[in-house]
């Protein structure tokens, strides 16, 4: 399937994201306990389980339908801050892809559209210690690698690395958005749970969308 991803691959991506979140649920909730309200792992896990079940129940016909269905399911099942934000991310991606296989450039554009949706909904800026701090660098890395003519596989690896670095970079940040912002200075020194989930999202992409790359 060369350098594009189809419905099967995207389905695998969502499943793998679900698997990783389930595996890390306790860690995600623990991070949220430190600077939030101890539900992020449970929230994402609940939503992704529902999304995976929905994909199995009514398999969407094309990439746009799939991403839309995942986004809608997350919005309907997650709640909290991450429901609308992760839901919007997938919905906006759906709007940026078509009914055909998604090629590398389209995938990069779609992820950035997702980021823009998250920014529009949540009004966070880079450095506010949110999922944006992992998603932003991931989009930048994708774009750079695309511009340099790299493969989707290579681009995703770079993006995942950037997401993990962005996640790690949230540790020293002072939170300015979300629940962690209530802590002021005390938010410093803790890793943002939402950014941690975003790094898992990109990790899942490497394994499932990178093809043979």
């Amino acid at each position: 399937m060369a350098d594009g991803v189809d419905v099967q691959a995207l389905t695998a991506w969502v499943r793998e994201f679900d698997r990783l979140v389930a595996e890390h649920e306790g860690e995600l909730t623990g991070l949220d306990a430190a600077i939030g309200d101890a539900d992020h792992g449970a929230n994402m896990h609940r939503g992704l389980t529902a999304a995976v079940a929905a994909l199995a129940g009514t398999p969407p016909a094309d990439p746009a339908a799939l991403l839309k269905q995942v986004g809608m399911t997350l919005i309907s099942k997650v709640g909290g801050a991450s429901g609308p934000l992760y839901g919007t991310l997938f919905l906006r991606m759906a709007g940026a892809v078509g009914t055909d296989e998604v090629d590398a450039a389209t995938y990069a554009r779609a992820l950035r559209a997702g980021l823009d949706g998250v920014l529009a909904r949540g009004k966070a800026e880079p450095g506010d210690k949110t999922m944006v701090d992992a998603l932003g660098p991931a989009c930048d890395a994708l774009d750079q690698e695309m511009a340099a003519g790299g493969s989707l596989a290579e681009a995703l690896r770079r993006a995942a690395t950037a997401a993990r670095q962005g996640r790690d970079a949230t540790v020293p940040m002072l939170a300015r958005k979300g629940r962690a912002s209530y802590l002021g200075e005390r938010s410093i020194g803790h890793q943002d749970p939402g950014a941690t989930t975003t790094a898992l999202l990109l990790d899942a992409a490497v394994t499932t969308l990178g093809g043979e790359g």
């Binding site: 306990a33 939030g36 101890a38 099942k77 909290g80 300015r176 958005k177 912002s181 209530y182 002021g184």
Partner: protein, 333 residues
């Protein structure tokens, strides 16, 4: 974790079954997890919808009934409900006079209610206005935070605005009143212990036996500072000092004073703290027009309390005194 529960994943739906059984005068939509007034929608009356994460009982489901809310959406524990629930609630209470969404200022609640309002606007002709409560002085309302949290004032607002809607005031008037109540109230909370989220299975934060957390939220969010355990009279001062510093409550109309328990604190201690609160207020020249002491906005099993002051005028006092018939607040005819 020691709780009267079955599977932690079922806590909210199990509790809603209990609520429905205990309060036949309410109608519970279990699929959407919405608690409705039995007679909703009330034709010609502005519909009041609130909701939020569960774990704060009696808020919000316990405030559904004549003179208060028309519907309340129950999210997962400490997790904002989702837009679908809010849409179902909004449709179910629309009696033709529009619907007010009462939203506590948390990112999740605000975003989900926002999406719900967008969905209602896209689908139907129902007019929806949202009012956000943000009375928690523990949080600075600045560019550097998500803004003050909505806490104790929400309960008082739901009662007062509920009375106004019951009297037939139009949506714009009800919304203005809600904004006024929010603007005139301030709160501050503290925790003696953490709560334990059922799905997490252990306390959200650790506090040693001689410490307490000042400025804590109602979701187990740690507060702004941790200080040595102190007597109730000093706690009353610590909570009131920032409240009184943020808004002038010394007007001749006086204040509605609300001492709220967080779920693990018995009434005995709340009355005791209220006595100390009255002493601080007397010294500060604040007249107590009305009071409310009890556990109305809880944080699961957290031991601790919050204090809310609301500036009231004659209109607000009349609306506060007006009849209300809900599981959580009930008085008058």
């Amino acid at each position: 974790m020691k709780k009267l529960i079955n599977d932690p994943a079922d806590v909210v739906s199990d509790a809603l079954r209990g609520m429905a059984a205990a309060h036949p005068e309410l109608r519970v939509d279990h699929e959407n997890r919405v608690v409705f007034r039995g007679d909703a929608p009330v034709q010609g009356k502005v519909g009041l919808v609130s909701g939020g994460g569960s774990g704060h009982e009696p808020m919000h489901g316990g405030f559904v009934g004549p003179g208060m809310l028309d519907a309340a959406c129950a999210g997962e524990v400490f997790t904002s409900p989702v837009p679908d629930q809010m849409v179902a609630a909004t449709k179910g209470v629309d009696g033709g006079a529009g619907v007010l969404h009462i939203v506590k200022n948390y990112t999740g609640d605000v975003l989900n209610f926002e999406m719900a309002a967008e969905m209602v606007a896209a689908e139907s002709g129902t007019e929806v206005v949202s009012v956000v409560t943000d009375d928690d002085v523990a949080v600075q309302d600045s560019l550097y935070t998500a803004g003050r949290r909505g806490v104790g004032v929400t309960v008082l607002l739901e009662k007062i605005v509920g009375a106004a809607a019951e009297q037939g005031r139009p949506l714009s008037g009800v919304a203005d009143l809600a904004r006024k109540v929010n603007a005139q109230g301030r709160s501050m909370g503290m925790a003696l212990t953490s709560c334990t989220v059922p799905a997490a299975g252990r306390p959200t934060f650790d506090l040693s036996d001689d410490e307490m957390e000042i400025g804590v939220g109602i979701h187990g969010e740690p507060g702004r500072r941790r200080v040595p355990l102190a007597p109730a009279r000093e706690i009353a001062e610590m909570l009131l000092e920032p409240v009184l510093g943020d808004l002038d409550f010394t007007g001749s109309d006086g204040a509605l004073v609300f001492v709220n328990g967080l779920g693990g604190t018995p009434l005995l201690e709340l009355y005791l703290l209220f006595a100390d609160v009255t002493a601080v207020l007397e010294k500060a020249g604040v007249r107590i027009a009305r009071s409310l002491v009890g556990s109305y906005m809880t944080s699961l099993d957290m031991a601790g309390c919050s204090v809310t002051l609301l500036k009231v005028d004659d209109d607000l006092v009349r609306l506060w005194d007006a009849p209300v018939r809900t599981p959580g607040l009930r008085w008058g005819t």
